[in-house]
Subunit: 219 residues, 2 copies
């Protein structure tokens, strides 16, 4: 591809600066205590310009998340078609976690993004938006899974159901990670694996045995 023109590069720089400054202010002072004016002033653009880049104050908080999601969707598309749905999703998340680092670092320090993620989890207004975005993702994923299995997502509820269950676990994972003390990338990866391992067993009728000992359901 050709190098984008000056105009384009300038826009990209402004956008990245807005994201970086916003996340810094949000994580430092808190989301609510940061005004859009502050962000705009720090980047030296007008408030109006901020809203031309991001349709809302919330949106800027999810700009990096958005990149991560695209990566996951891409990874899911690459999974071999003979993998079972849950395995494909599991492997896609794990492989996404492995390669996000570099992609994020081009815009903001990874550490800042992780702090931002925890801020989202602990800020009610952002948590709400985060969850809605997650369900939009679920719809996307459901369609991919359905396509893999040769099913019509509007005829057969199983793709949406499996994805809903899977995403539910992923959400709890993010939550627990956010509440814990180990804020590293490795920690969230490990939690992801651990929690997904519980998904099958958690659904069997008897829980009184220890995890892993009971008659497991899914792989």
């Amino acid at each position: 591809m050709t190098v984008p023109g000056l105009r384009e590069r300038k826009k990209q720089r402004t956008r990245d600066a807005l994201i970086r400054v916003a996340l810094e202010l949000f994580t430092d002072q808190g989301y609510e205590r940061t005004t859009v004016d502050e962000i705009a002033d720090a980047v030296d653009v007008s408030q109006r310009t901020f809203f031309r880049y991001f349709s809302s104050k919330e949106e800027v908080a999810f700009a990096v998340q958005h990149m991560v999601e695209e990566r996951f969707v891409h990874a899911l598309g690459q999974r071999p078609p003979d993998e079972a749905p849950l395995d494909a999703m599991r492997n896609a998340v794990l492989s996404a976690w492995d390669t996000i680092g570099e992609a994020i670092a081009e815009v903001v320090p990874v550490e800042l993004h992780l702090r931002a993620y925890r801020m989202i989890e602990s800020t009610p207004a952002l948590l709400a938006v985060h969850l809605r975005r997650s369900t939009e993702m679920e719809e996307t994923i459901s369609r991919i899974i359905a396509a893999r299995e040769g099913l019509d997502v509007d005829e057969d509820p199983r793709p949406r159901i499996a994805v809903a269950a899977f995403s539910g676990v992923m959400r709890v994972t993010g939550q627990m990670w956010g509440r814990g003390t180990d804020g590293s990338l490795e920690a969230i990866r490990a939690l992801t694996e651990e929690y997904l391992d519980h998904l099958g067993p958690a659904l069997v009728p008897h829980w009184r045995d220890r995890p892993g000992e009971g008659p497991g359901a899914a792989a």
Copy 2:
């Protein structure tokens, strides 16, 4: 109990009127196109008073939902302790669906509430709040389930995981119901049963068999 005083009754009437008028305006004109001033004017109170009853414009949209949730939690508390977790939750939802009608009708027509529910599902800002509220519910439910099973919710992830999977399915149910054409109470009840029946089978590795025929996992 004694009859509440005039002051108390007046407050209750104002509150109910605000809810009813709000839901009517929301469902008629749309949530975004309805201002708090409109609602307050229609009930003949000041905007300031509206915000003394509801901390936000969103909150009034969920006032009825709130009642329904309380009912579910109560029903769950009543389930016999030997029921498996998923069964207890399933039966609690179904029994809640059976008795909501009357409780709601004291405040707003049931039909209005059902329309409001669909409006919530289709209004991004409200959907976001709805989802966050759902996760708060999940936390409550997880603790009840953990208690039933004699587990510590912070030690053993299985209660949260099972509840997350369960709630995921319930959410998809609500979504599908909202998108469908049959907006009746019976329809959502039937969907609930049908979708929950898929939860176990959807998690087994092989989907290529028809539902129910494959080697099922959970009950």
